[in-house]
Symmetry: C2
Subunit: 338 residues, 2 copies
């Protein structure tokens, strides 16, 4: 058995677990953004024909799984496990999505870092020959998250300029094997919790940026790669403020991330879409990777991506009790293999 641990926090996937297909489903606002044309489905209305916002989010998630399976040429009974998570209390979006398929289920939670956590553990299951084919997925919905974490929508509360907008979005990846592997998960770095003592739930980008830097820096140390190895380094979702903080902090370490670096929460909306500091939510980095980034990879314009989903670990209870907002980030490199 080869040693698959690289450095301190990085896993090496030596058998090349491959991304066989992706699916992305986003809401109306996300469809109107600059990436709108690159998602598989843009909803005509955010209820998606369901009776509740929660029902709509579950349906978006299962729909993104169906699309990913279809593109991968797999049926649900060929999928060995689904690893999925979301922002709802007790992961109800994932639960109600996955129960439509008769597939073993592993629930993941890392706030907005959930998608990379799912991709990493899914890749481990395939790379280690435990399973042949898995799905990694995540979702979020503005209207389910807003009323759970903040206020009923009807309340119409004001949002400070630093606040981020929970994306109505879901993304799924089918990870498995083919005879001619194309884009594979090669390395993953599992992040530590970084707590800078931030307590402002409207400053999540600032709470997460140090964790993102910690994970990216550790990834580069562990793999021996330079930051400019990657065509794209994508955090998700620091938003405009957190992105700038990360760029500034990296500069202090002598790294000029900016040419290759961007943030999914920045990319998904136009500035004039009234989303303040940009997008957030598990579904944001999941859908941006599964949609537009994957499309760019398939078209050949980029071939080496480091996806660094970032999570702000808070709950309404921890916020009400004055607790800090620890951040976390996990990184996975998805790249062309020839």
């Amino acid at each position: 058995m080869p040693n698959n641990k690289l450095g301190k926090q990085t896993l090496a996937f030596r058998t090349r677990p491959e991304v066989l297909g992706t699916g992305s489903v986003v809401g109306v606002k996300e469809g109107q953004g600059p990436l709108g044309k690159s998602f598989d489905i843009v909803l005509e209305e955010d209820m998606f024909g369901e009776k509740t916002w929660e029902g709509a989010e579950s349906k978006m998630l299962s729909e993104s799984m169906r699309i990913a399976m279809k593109k991968a040429g797999k049926t649900a009974d060929q999928v060995d496990a689904i690893l999925s998570g979301d922002l709802l209390n007790q992961l109800m979006s994932s639960t109600y999505s996955v129960k439509e398929f008769s597939v073993p289920f592993l629930g993941m939670y890392g706030a907005c870092s959930t998608m990379t956590e799912a991709i990493i553990l899914g890749s481990v299951l395939v790379d280690g020959s435990y399973f042949d084919t898995v799905i990694a997925a995540a979702s979020s919905h503005y209207s389910t998250a807003e009323r759970q974490f903040r206020m009923p929508l009807e309340h119409g509360n004001q949002r400070p300029p630093s606040a981020q907008w929970t994306s109505t979005a879901s993304g799924s990846l089918v990870i498995g094997r083919s005879k001619n592997p194309h884009f594979c998960c090669t390395y993953a770095t599992i992040g530590k919790i970084v707590d800078t003592g931030m307590t402002d739930a409207n400053q999540m980008g600032a709470a997460m940026a140090p964790a993102a830097l910690d994970t990216v820096y550790r990834h580069l140390l562990d793999t021996g790669r330079e930051w400019n190895y990657y065509d794209r380094i994508l955090t998700g979702d620091l938003g405009h403020i957190g992105k700038q903080i990360l760029i500034d902090m990296a500069k202090n370490l002598g790294i000029d991330l900016s040419p290759a670096y961007d943030d999914c929460g920045v990319l998904i909306y136009e500035k004039d879409q009234d989303v303040h500091s940009g997008g957030s939510g598990c579904g944001c980095s999941a859908s941006v990777f599964a949609g537009p980034i994957w499309k760019s990879m398939m078209e050949g314009s980029i071939s080496k991506v480091l996806l660094v989903s970032t999570g702000a670990l808070l709950s309404t209870t921890s916020a009400q009790q004055g607790g800090s907002i620890p951040g976390i980030a996990h990184a996975v490199s998805v790249e062309a293999v020839y």
Copy 2:
């Protein structure tokens, strides 16, 4: 690379990831139960010197990790990852526990099935040589869960006889390698979501029993083992009602589980402790396995255990919207290796 998938849903851990140490911390009521003397720490009061119940739960969880590391002869900087979960919204007990250690973190959620999910994915990371040493952990606290899922404690609401009592308990396992492996994780079966349409949140045992049976039956099919291979088959936590349902359903399949079978929610309290149908909560099966069951294994009275933690996948939102309560169960066999 050998194929580590066995049958349809089962993983084989061929390199024998070993349980190097365990830690269990329980509350006052759990200490007064029949297993009270077998836990590492029994609290003198359930606030554990903290200002909030949530703070107490986090402290119990990190304390159980410290005990497990001490028994395993490991320090936190020798631990490559912590896989942990709990019942609190957004896993805040785990977040605040793990942030005390500077160790990569993977958040798990499967309701009361969380402990086996963490043990399984932790064993995968060690077995696949991705990491050397990991911690799998889970916790619950009566007073944090009650006010989050049901009513403020001050409300003093009545509980129907079918209700279960969320255990104030935490359990941790250090999984790694030693030169002379003793008790190892050998096989794991990842469960499917089973939804029988139950909607009564005071009947969780009945909601979970079909999922437990599905996973145990699949485990036996995939491994080719008979149910009586195991000294103990332990669900956690079906309670008195769910346990009987599982025994009856198994009988219909021609399996007389009863000699080896018991339920952690049944074992943890005496009937006269006013807990109605027995214990529940992520911490129940975690602490019963990490405490009394592990003690029996170390003393040599049992050597082959199938731990089947079971989860009722509901939230207050799904309950208020009239949603069903899907169940799930994951199984892991921990056994003496000579």
